[in-house]
């Protein structure tokens, strides 16, 4: 309840507020989650016949994925700019940058939708090969994380943020910082996913 200390104020000996520590621990667990899948990728690549992963990997659309990478990186910048705008007390700029972040996120999802449906229309499914299986699973889990992130971003873009900005601006800044950390992490996962799946 409101009697809980260090929600916004930093605890002197640790230098942290609760949410920032919490989200980093959550991110640590997510590193292990995607790590489990990356470990599976390595295992499966070794277990597959020579050239199998190269063959199936060549069916992926590199230009689309490159576009997605650039858009996700841009969304990371707009995310940090939205937080910076709040710190500079520019609420309108905050909304603009956050809106851009959401748009980039939605655009990413659209490209992924096109990618997936084009695979399906060529009769390529997760069951088509172990490469396709791990490709769909890794990118699919990543997509779920983008969707989850977008839900939170939309919540903070809605009039709820207007009310928070009026009543407790520091709390809003803290929540956006923490949300941003999650969003940057999702970008970080893609930064590794992209070369591993599409280029190697």
């Amino acid at each position: 309840m409101s009697s809980i200390p260090y929600i916004l104020e930093e605890r002197p000996d640790t230098g942290l507020n609760n949410a920032r520590l919490g989200i980093w621990i959550f991110i640590a667990s997510e590193v292990m989650l995607f790590g489990g899948l990356f470990s599976a990728y390595v295992f499966l690549r070794i277990a597959a016949p020579e050239g199998d992963f190269d063959y199936w990997g060549s069916k992926l659309n590199v230009p689309m994925a490159t576009l997605n990478t650039l858009m996700l990186i841009s969304s990371s910048v707009t995310m940090i700019m939205s937080w910076a705008s709040l710190k500079m007390k520019q609420f309108d700029k905050y909304k603009m940058y956050l809106g851009l972040t959401i748009l980039f996120g939605i655009a990413f999802l659209c490209v992924k939708y096109i990618e997936y449906t084009s695979k399906f229309s060529h009769d390529i499914y997760p069951s088509s090969s172990t490469f396709m299986g791990i490709y769909f699973t890794l990118t699919g889990l990543h997509v779920l994380h983008i969707i989850g992130g977008l839900v939170v971003l939309l919540y903070f873009w809605s009039p709820v943020s207007n009310r928070m900005w009026k009543e407790n601006p520091d709390l809003l800044a803290n929540r956006i910082e923490v949300t941003g950390l999650y969003w940057h992490f999702v970008d970080l996962v893609w930064i590794f996913l992209f070369p591993i799946l599409y280029l190697l």
Partner: protein, 101 residues
């Protein structure tokens, strides 16, 4: 806040823009490098190195790790170790065929 320890928020914004530009460039480099005619191992190391640099920039500047407190650095260090264990130990177990007889 981590902003106060590293100059004003306006200076920070300049850093963000620079990091953004670097990330875009590095992404294009990643794609360009993939067309080189090199062995898989070389391609793997090159791709991972570039990805690590990009990741480092996101972690360091967008996620403020460069000015973050000890507690979080330690938690992440433990996570990296656990991640490395998860990545390498199963692999080594699978490829180890040493035998006593």
């Amino acid at each position: 806040m981590s902003t106060d320890s590293h100059g004003s928020i306006e200076d920070q914004v300049k850093v963000y823009i620079n990091v953004f530009a670097s990330l875009i460039v590095l992404t294009l480099v990643t794609v360009a490098v993939s067309y080189l005619d090199i062995s898989f191992i070389e391609a793997f190391f090159l791709a991972m190195t570039i990805a690590t640099i990009k990741g480092g920039l996101v972690l360091g500047f967008f996620m403020h790790l460069i000015s973050e407190k000890q507690a979080i650095i330690w938690i992440l260090a433990s996570t990296v170790i656990a991640f490395m264990i998860l990545m390498f130990l199963p692999l080594v177990s699978m490829t180890d065929h040493t035998s006593l007889w």
